[in-house]
């Protein structure tokens, strides 16, 4: 399904054919999930963010300028949703730490279980990157985006996107050089 197909599908959605949106979801799900996971570093959060992004895209489909690329528009929504989730997670984390402090005397005898899906957690290598660097690197590596396209999604200057991308690659290189397992690859 190319950009023109996107246009036709969007037209069908706007005409009231709700089921047509499934084609868009199936087409972009992988990219959206990858991007969300790169930013959030957690499978469950990434899936939630992806769902929210698709819903938001559907609800605001009328605002989409059809002269532009739908994928970029959708990725910009994903980026925004991810930032919102990060903000929410920070607040929750603060709240949890306060609750944990309050419950510490009672809960001291219990052990917390490790996360069920550890494989779906972001690698320590990527954790060294900032959110914007991760997003820029993900778009560049997976989608082959240029600095200008990344800037369009991040809503920043092209020069800034270029710096994000460069810093990401520099950090990744440093991380890989220190990792003996990756040396031989």
């Amino acid at each position: 399904m190319g950009p023109t197909d996107d246009g036709q599908t969007i037209a069908r959605c706007l005409a009231g054919d709700r089921e047509a949106f499934e084609m868009i979801v199936n087409k972009y799900q992988s990219g959206v999930l990858t991007l969300a996971w790169s930013v959030l570093g957690n499978r469950a959060e990434a899936e939630d963010a992806a769902q929210e992004a698709f819903i938001r895209a559907y609800v605001n489909l009328q605002n989409f300028d059809r002269a532009k690329d739908f994928k970029n528009w959708l990725y910009a929504i994903v980026h925004k949703r991810c930032l919102d989730r990060i903000r929410k997670l920070k607040t929750e984390k603060k709240y949890r730490s306060r609750m944990a402090e309050a419950a510490a005397p009672v809960m001291s005898g219990f052990k917390t279980e490790p996360g069920a899906d550890e494989s779906a957690v972001l690698s320590p290598l990527l954790k060294k990157l900032t959110v914007k660097e991760r997003l820029a690197a993900s778009l560049s590596m997976n989608e082959g985006y240029t600095a200008a396209e990344i800037a369009g999604i991040l809503h920043c200057a092209e020069s800034t996107a270029r710096v994000h991308l460069f810093n990401a690659k520099r950090k990744l290189r440093k991380g890989l050089e220190r990792n003996p397992h990756v040396q031989n690859l």
Binding site: S30, R43, M141, L185
Partner: protein, 172 residues
């Protein structure tokens, strides 16, 4: 990576300058570009986890949410927040600082001249001498001969010396 550019990149504070350096050197220099794209295939794997390929479609959840909202595509509120009116904080701070600096300089340059007297001088009136009526001697005679008069006038008092005319001195 060329060492000098690496040091330069670390030293440059502005993103635009960094970007210029990336464009001018790191993206063009074959040595740097090679290192820049170091083990791209390995890095790509980090950004594409395996679980994504096997992930089930999110459409059922999305569909349920859409039906729950009972909204056909319409603009409830923009998906991307409209750009907020951001005050250029740095420019504002620079303008305020410049205003204060110029104001201070202007105050010292344009304030009325005349220093405040201190010590014994301060007891004297600061009234300009021109305001005090001036003494004028038209003619002086000393022992029937014309003499010379010397006037010393302060803001509060006037002193007049009279000397024989053969003495030198200014008539005032």
């Amino acid at each position: 990576m060329c060492k000098i550019y690496k040091i330069l990149y670390a030293a440059i504070p502005l993103k635009k300058w960094k970007s210029a350096l990336i464009r001018r050197h790191f993206e063009r220099c074959p040595r740097c570009a090679e290192e820049f794209n170091y083990k791209d295939h390995v890095v790509r794997a980090f950004f594409k986890p395996e679980w994504i390929q096997g992930a089930s479609s999110v459409w059922p959840q999305v569909r349920a949410q859409i039906i729950l909202r009972k909204n056909e595509p319409e603009a409830l509120r923009p998906a991307i927040s409209p750009p907020r009116l951001r005050l250029p904080i740095r420019a504002l701070a620079a303008a305020i600082s410049a205003f204060f600096i110029l104001g201070t300089i202007g105050f010292f340059l344009l304030r009325p001249h005349g220093r405040k007297l201190s010590g014994p001088e301060s007891s004297l009136s600061t009234k300009p001498a021109a305001a005090v009526p001036r003494v004028q001697v038209i003619s002086v005679e000393l022992g029937g001969k014309r003499a010379k008069a010397y006037i010393y006038q302060t803001p509060t008092a006037s002193f007049i010396w009279i000397a024989p005319s053969q003495e030198t001195g200014g008539l005032r």
